[in-house]
């Protein structure tokens, strides 16, 4: 493989994959996308949120799961970092704590793929109490 050094090289890669992408992209429906937010404040980073994010990005891509992984600030659960908020299509967001690689694997397998809840959820649904 030739080395990628400039934007021109990047454009070449883009052209190479553009046709492949079209096939894949057709299956994308925003309402079916899993949304994943990784807590990336000081507390998260110090506990390894970068590695967690990397794992999610690579693993979901490997398994061809339609998901968008983004960053978010501190959710106030610094003791449980890295924290990850997952929103399955049509469902309420769920926050998981202490998400290292092993935990992330479990979350993908059990929660994202089968929809079953796993241990380690941080309950944050305070609005039901108020109402």
């Amino acid at each position: 493989m030739t080395k990628i050094k400039s934007l021109a090289d990047l454009r070449k890669i883009r052209d190479e994959v553009q046709s492949k992408i079209k096939l894949r992209e057709n299956s994308t429906h925003p309402e079916q996308t899993v949304q994943i937010k990784i807590g990336m404040a000081t507390c998260g980073i110090a506990s390894g949120a970068k590695e967690t994010m990397r794992f999610f990005v690579e693993e979901l891509e490997q398994q061809a799961i339609d998901a968008v992984v983004t960053q978010t600030g501190c959710m106030g659960f610094c003791y449980a970092e890295p924290t990850v908020e997952i929103t399955l299509p049509g469902k309420e967001p769920v926050v998981f704590g202490f998400v290292n690689k092993t935990k992330a694997e479990e979350i993908i397998e059990v929660y994202i793929k089968r929809g079953e809840l796993v241990d380690g959820i941080i309950p944050m649904n305070f609005k039901t109490i108020d109402e």
Binding site: K5, L10, I13, V57, V68, V69, Q71, G73, C74, G76
Partner: protein, 182 residues
């Protein structure tokens, strides 16, 4: 924070919360002068003088979710531990600049780390913000701009596997070319 990259990842979040649209990260190293510096500047909402004075205090934060703010204080500590300095400049509604310098050869200077991952994750996490990463060594200067990358992709998603790998490789190769110290 174990690496300079971790600090960047962290401080950049401050700029994002300050509604910045342009964030510039400059790492400069000079073996001859035994100098290493990190500058992060943004065009966000800035801070008034009073806030600026308190910003590097670990017990000050603008957040409501928790009572401490360690990001800047940890960077300050690391810089001072490694024979360097830390300073902050800010103008309300103009932006903020964070500057940390280190002694390059100091054992306490954190290594650079995986800047390419930091750049990519920050870019996909905040697609509306333009990030510039500039790295200067005695062998040359590289500049990577997220807007420019997005423009050359012409609508192809940043999240495509091949594109991700290409972007990471692009940054790594460029760093190698100017012989950036880790």
């Amino acid at each position: 924070m174990k690496t300079i990259t971790d600090h960047i990842l962290d401080i950049v979040q401050n700029s994002i919360r300050a509604n910045a649209t342009l964030i510039e990260i400059i790492v400069e190293e000079n073996k001859k002068n035994d100098f290493y510096s990190l500058i992060i500047s943004d065009n966000g909402c800035g801070m008034d003088e009073e806030t600026l004075k308190k910003a590097a205090n670990p017990f000050f934060t603008s957040r409501k979710t928790r009572g401490v703010g360690l990001g800047l204080s940890l960077l300050k500590q690391n810089a001072e531990m490694a024979g360097g300095n830390f300073s902050l400049y800010s103008v309300v509604n103009k932006g903020t600049e964070v500057k940390a310098s280190f002694q390059l050869s100091n054992v306490d200077r954190p290594p650079l780390g995986d800047v390419w991952n930091m750049f990519y994750y920050t870019m996909i996490g905040n697609e509306t913000i333009d990030f510039h990463y500039i790295h200067k060594t005695e062998n040359g200067t590289i500049e990577i701009q997220s807007e420019e990358i997005k423009r050359s992709l012409e609508g192809v998603s940043l999240r495509q596997k091949e594109i991700r790998e290409a972007i990471l490789e692009l940054i790594q190769n460029n760093l190698k070319e100017i012989k950036a110290t880790n």
